[in-house]
């Protein structure tokens, strides 16, 4: 029963998810509307609570067992609690019952987001450029015909998307556009067909109960 019930639910809701795309009858559409707008939202709320609970559990466990870099888990937990209190009782823009400013120093969610999350996120992503530059210098070699072709295409695209490329030749941006529009699309479309067929096959396997990995590895 412990395994059969989830499989039964997945079968029912998997089929119910497909039918509205095929039958436009109001009864079917209204049922689908109810399932998505009400049931799915309730499930999403539970998933959010489960996710946050799981996150806290993992980090509490890390602190308890003093695993590598356990100190950072404290930062996560403390930040989580503080931002939750500010968000829940102070409101996003400081309009809630909890005061979210000391004098002219605001600490509402929007201010925290703009001054902490945004710079941190941007910094992490900006570092990628340095690694990419270093990696391409060391590894991007014309070792074979295919690699040379890739190298030439990347040069054209890189030059084509910067204004300097247009100054070298007016045809360079158009050539870069052609590479993206034709050879790139040909390759991408082949991959996409493969992915789509694989997705359909996996979805059918899950709906029909053939693929059961999602049930977890336990007994």
């Amino acid at each position: 029963m412990k395994r059969k019930f989830p499989l039964f639910l997945v079968f029912i809701f998997g089929i119910l998810g497909i039918i509205p795309f095929l039958i436009p009858h109001p009864v079917v559409q209204n049922t689908d509307d109810f399932l998505r707008n009400n049931l799915l939202r309730i499930l999403a709320a539970f998933a959010l609570v489960l996710g946050l609970g799981s996150l806290l559990k993992v980090h509490m466990d890390k602190i308890k067992r003093k695993r590598q870099n356990w100190q950072y888990s404290w930062i996560l937990i403390i930040s989580f609690i503080i931002s939750s209190i500010i968000g829940l009782f102070g409101g996003v823009a400081g309009t809630g019952p909890l005061p979210t400013s000391i004098g002219s120093f605001p600490f509402d969610i929007q201010t925290l987001y703009e001054n902490i999350i945004v710079p941190l996120g941007s910094t992490m992503f900006a570092l990628l450029a340095f690694f990419m530059a270093s990696a391409s210098y060391r590894a991007f070699r014309a070792r074979s015909f295919e690699a040379t072709l890739l190298l030439a295409a990347s040069f054209i695209v890189m030059l084509g998307i910067i204004p300097f490329g247009d100054r070298i030749s007016h045809h360079l941006p158009s050539l870069a556009q052609w590479i993206m529009n034709v050879p790139n699309v040909a390759g991408q479309r082949g991959i996409l067909f493969g992915v789509a067929l694989g997705t359909i096959a996996t979805a059918l396997k899950i709906i029909l109960g053939i693929e059961r990995a999602w049930l977890g590895g336990g007994e």
Binding site: N37, R41, Q110, V118, P119, A129, F130, R141, M158, I161
Partner: protein, 290 residues
């Protein structure tokens, strides 16, 4: 030292030297910004024309779904789109499919509305919340708004980002579902624009366009080629092209963040190309000497 020895030595440049050079070419143009003019390519021109021809009884949806990581590339696109829509008095519905982008969407909206309202001389000229635009906010999971708005927008978003009941807002009086939407533009660093095509366009026929990061651009051209995307903006250059259109066609002369970032982008690309060439010269010399 022989030339070949010098070239081989060049292939062993310390990575910190590469980082330093790259940092210099990226940072210096940002400290001393100059606007770089660009040639507008067809995908951006098509998007501009699609927005430009939205009739008064229809609306534009902008899905702000970029996060801080992709903000430098995608925010200028959002700002340029908002400037275009507000200048043409097109009704705009703004939303995000995830929580993170909400703060950034709010920031872009505040900036552009302040720009317009600081120059407005009458109420008709002003950009007024609830009349000209609405910030619908976020409804999880993404599938709900994508499919739900095909039936009823105010049913999916019963309250806006600020807690107002959406069906009481003036802008929403003539907007029921996707039939009243002329175009939906998804600004995202992820695969969300494809999901808009899969769920909203395939099922309800709404026109979709996208603004994506340069690194993910290759994934989206197939949708542009088939016409599933009405237009496409890719990376910093895509944003700069739209800014160029907004300035040249509408005469809006405001700060152009993407265009100002283009010199950094240009020098960074050139440095990377030069380093790849140096690396390859050294590789060929080494291979020949073996």
């Amino acid at each position: 030292m022989k030339l070949t020895d010098f070239l081989i030595k060049l292939t062993k440049i310390d990575r910190r030297v590469i980082y330093l050079i790259l940092a210099a070419v990226v940072i210096l143009p940002l400290i001393f910004p100059t606007v770089e003019r660009v040639r507008v390519m067809e995908p951006v021109e098509k998007l501009f024309n699609a927005v430009d021809t939205i009739p008064p009884h229809k609306a534009l949806i902008i899905d702000f779904d970029y996060e801080p990581q992709t903000q430098p590339e995608l925010e200028p696109m959002g700002i340029a789109l908002l400037r275009h829509a507000f200048a043409r008095h097109i009704k705009v519905l703004i939303l995000s499919l995830y929580v993170q982008p909400l703060g950034l969407a709010q920031k872009a909206l505040t900036q552009v509305t302040e720009e317009f309202n600081s120059e407005a001389t009458s109420r008709a000229d002003s950009i007024i919340y609830g009349r000209d635009y609405v910030f619908l906010g976020w409804q999880p999971p993404p599938l709900i708004p994508m499919l739900g708005m095909g039936v009823s927008i105010t049913n999916v978003y019963q309250h806006d980002y600020y807690g107002n009941k959406t069906d009481t807002l003036e802008i929403m009086q003539g907007i029921k579902n996707y039939n009243d939407i002329a175009l939906l533009v998804s600004l995202s660093g992820s695969s969300l624009p494809k999901s808009w095509v899969a769920y909203s366009q395939n099922r309800f026929g709404v026109a979709v366009a996208a603004g994506v990061t340069a690194v993910s651009a290759a994934d989206f051209y197939q949708f542009y080629q088939t016409g599933q995307f009405t237009g496409l903006m890719t990376g910093m250059k895509g944003g700069a092209e739209y800014e160029e259109m907004v300035e040249s066609k509408l005469g809006i002369k405001k700060k152009r963040k993407a265009s100002e970032a283009l010199p950094s982008l240009t020098y960074a690309h050139l440095v990377i190309i030069i380093f790849i060439i140096i690396g390859n010269i050294g590789y060929f010399i080494k291979r020949r000497s073996k």
